[in-house]
């Protein structure tokens, strides 16, 4: 294994681990706040139990997310010191704001988790909402920094040095907003469906449980709204990617040759060698329409880029297909769920529906991992798009396979323990 590959693997594992905890940390406080609100308004004990049960999960996920996020802030330097040397002064600003938001989040969480009998009930409720708002803000700031890697802005590149640095322009780069909205919706969608799925299992075991029913409705509502909005938002992001990173879009769609009336490809396995795609379903003209709003428009293919600047096509394409498939499925289930919540919530409690929700529990997170793969692998070979290649940013330290194995081991262990803890929590309350 080369050092570059080890460094990329370690970064992928660290981010792939952290992104799940970060997403839960963004969305979960809002689920909790709804339940908490209901407790304070109705004084129905079931909502107090639910808020407390969820808050235990939040504490575990938040702590794991906080420390794995710390690891990432160091890893940026440990693995990619050359990148940070250039990127730090230009796109470090969102990280500074993220630090502030995260600080507020940690303080508010301390008050929320330990302040049950120490602060006024509504101040206590507000502290939970502050956790959520600062969590969303943290996520948006981090995505600003990631957006900058996709759409570098706020500097001029002269002879391999950055001059005329403008950190504000870098922070509000063109990719930031669309990517940020997409990630935030993804966090709500994945968390909502995961929580709904867990409580659906509870209802399958104990159909009369008011606790699980209340939880299912709150989680499903939030997850469903996000799932319905997500395809609309995803479309805007794809249109922007067509302009900002045509190579990424071409890889997502396995479009090897620039073409007018380009087809949308569903599924299939692309081959970079033969520049063909097998087993895919083509819908004529639809890619042109989705990317540029015109069925006849020309879409840039990979042939417009030198071969060494291609992202890994198969990984990007397959990851994109997975994300789209899950996104579509969850949007459809979400629409039906909202209809059921409005018309007759009993439909949600049929065994078939509950089994469906249980099966959907992990899907949102799989979609998040896939979507993140699309944006990161699809940007390769660049670490700063068009400016700096990943291979030029890696640390000169040899033997990177060892820290990679260390962190892989730690994260596998933690993933196992956190899952096991959740099962124990669930059995305990259920």
């Amino acid at each position: 294994m080369t050092d570059l590959f080890a460094a990329r693997s370690q970064m992928a594992i660290s981010l792939g681990f952290h992104i799940i905890f970060a997403a839960i940390g963004i969305a979960m406080p809002f689920l909790m706040a709804v339940s908490h609100w209901r407790w304070l308004k109705t004084k129905e004990a079931v909502y107090l139990d639910l808020t407390k049960a969820w808050s235990k999960g939040v504490a575990i996920f938040f702590a794991t997310g906080a420390v794995s996020g710390t690891v990432l802030s160091f890893e940026l330097g440990l693995l990619w010191p050359k990148f940070m040397e250039y990127a730090g002064p230009i796109s470090g600003l969102p990280f500074a704001w993220e630090g502030a938001a995260f600080f507020l989040e940690a303080i508010a969480l301390g008050i929320f988790l330990y302040g049950w009998d120490r602060v006024h009930p509504w101040s206590h409720w507000a502290s939970g909402v502050v956790v959520g708002i600062s969590g969303v803000a943290s996520g948006l700031f981090v995505i600003c920094a990631n957006g900058w890697m996709n759409a570098p802005a706020g500097f001029d590149w002269v002879n391999g040095e950055a001059v005329n640095i403008d950190p504000v322009a870098a922070m509000f780069n063109r990719a930031a907003l669309q990517q940020g909205l997409h990630m935030t919706l993804a966090a709500f969608c994945a968390t909502g469906f995961a929580v709904a799925g867990i409580h659906a299992i509870g209802l399958l075991k104990n159909p009369a449980s008011r606790f699980h029913a209340g939880a299912l409705h709150i989680a499903l509502f939030i997850g469903a709204v996000a799932a319905i909005l997500q395809p609309l938002q995803g479309d805007r992001l794809a249109k922007q990617t067509a302009v900002l990173q045509p190579a990424k879009l071409a890889a997502m769609e396995s479009l090897f040759h620039t073409s007018k009336a380009a087809p949308l490809i569903i599924g299939g396995i692309p081959s970079e060698e033969t520049q063909t795609l097998r087993y895919g379903i083509e819908i004529p003209g639809l890619l042109s329409f989705l990317a540029h709003g015109d069925f006849e428009a020309e879409v840039t293919g990979l042939d417009q880029f030198p071969r060494e600047h291609w992202p890994p096509v198969a990984v990007t394409h397959v990851a994109f297909q997975i994300m789209i498939a899950i996104g579509g499925l969850l949007a459809a289930i979400g629409a039906w769920s909202l209809f059921a919540l409005w018309k007759n919530p009993a439909w949600l409690h049929s065994r078939k529906a509950l089994r469906l929700f249980a099966c959907c529990a992990p899907l949102g997170f799989i979609a998040i991992e896939a979507g993140w793969t699309v944006t990161e692998v699809g940007r390769q070979p660049w670490i700063i798009y068009g400016i700096m290649q990943t291979k030029d940013a890696v640390t000169p330290m040899p033997g990177l396979v060892y820290p990679m194995m260390l962190f892989t081991g730690v994260y596998l262990l933690l993933a196992f323990v956190v899952t096991w803890l959740m099962v124990r929590q669930f059995r305990h309350v259920g």
Binding site: K56, A59, I60, F62, A63, T64, V67, G69, T70, V71, S73, F74, G77, L78, P81, K82, M84, E85, Y86, G88, P89, G92, L93, F95, A96, W97, E98, G99, A100, F102, F103, L104, A106, I107, G110, I111, L113, Y114, G115, R118, I165, D166, P167, T395, P396, M397, P398, G399, P403, L406, F407, V410, L414, V417, L421, R424, Q425, R427, H428, V429
Partner: protein
Amino acid sequence: MWVETIAFFLAISILLYSLLAGADFGAGILEAFAGKDRREEQREIISHAMGPVWEANHVWLILAVVILFMGFPKAFSALSITFHIPLTLMLFGIVLRGCTFTFRHYDAVRDRSHRYYSALFVISSFLTPLMLGVVAGGALLGAAAPLEAGFYAGFVRPWANLFCFSVGVFTCVLFAFLAAVYLIGETRDPAMRGIFTRRAMIANALAILIGVTVFVTAEIDGLALARLFAARVVSVGSMISATVILLPLWIAIRKNRVQMARVLVAVQVGLVLIGWFRLQFPVIINSQIHPWTIYSAAAPEPTLRYLLYALVIGSVIIFPALIYLLKIFKLSETERA
């Protein structure tokens, strides 16, 4: 002007990380020495003391890292390359400490797993400050060699030496001292207070002993620390003040003035850190390749300006919230005893 202000914020972040999160690590270290004597109660007190605040305390480190990579990117890059190994070990400790502490607190079932959480919690509470001190020592020592000198000279020797490990152990002892004094105020039981007072005494004695060792090992590893120290009035002054302040500190502990003791121990340890900051200033990382100072490593002015805006606005939001947090959990139930 911008550079010094940003460096000041960096120093404040490191200072507060040490005084707040340092004590959390110190508490984990003390847990290792809880002995059989009311071990479970000591553990409870430590968990209760850390629970609401450790995550907020931890953020000072993230702030320090952000200031480093945004404000002094070349120094951040050099530190990350030379100290890859100890920093990786420190991160390993940070992850394990945070996770095992939380798992222990929130696990719905109490069984054998708690023994593992506790063991890992204690080990990582040692590892993290040890490596933090090792890196701090290495940044001062400046043994980093060019890459051509090979793996050992470039990535191991800069930190794997007596001096760096002395600084690492000193950091552990200092954090344990902080924790012991802070913890006195977390209980009203005179016997428990006695236990933590004895821990504080031992840590204090060890801090003096290992403090001397740091100066000796510096000479062994070729750093004229005593001479550097003597040449800086601020360092000598803070060292003397830190020693003098021990007297009122111990009187406060004797008289059960727990809040006063907390403030005094924070000032004491703070003075030690200020002495070190002056010693280091303006260098961030010494090295045989290229020493980086806050001036030579500084980012361009627009970056520093916007970083400062963020820090100032962030402080306006954070400090009242932080004081509120500490007021709820650290001032309300103590002192009344």
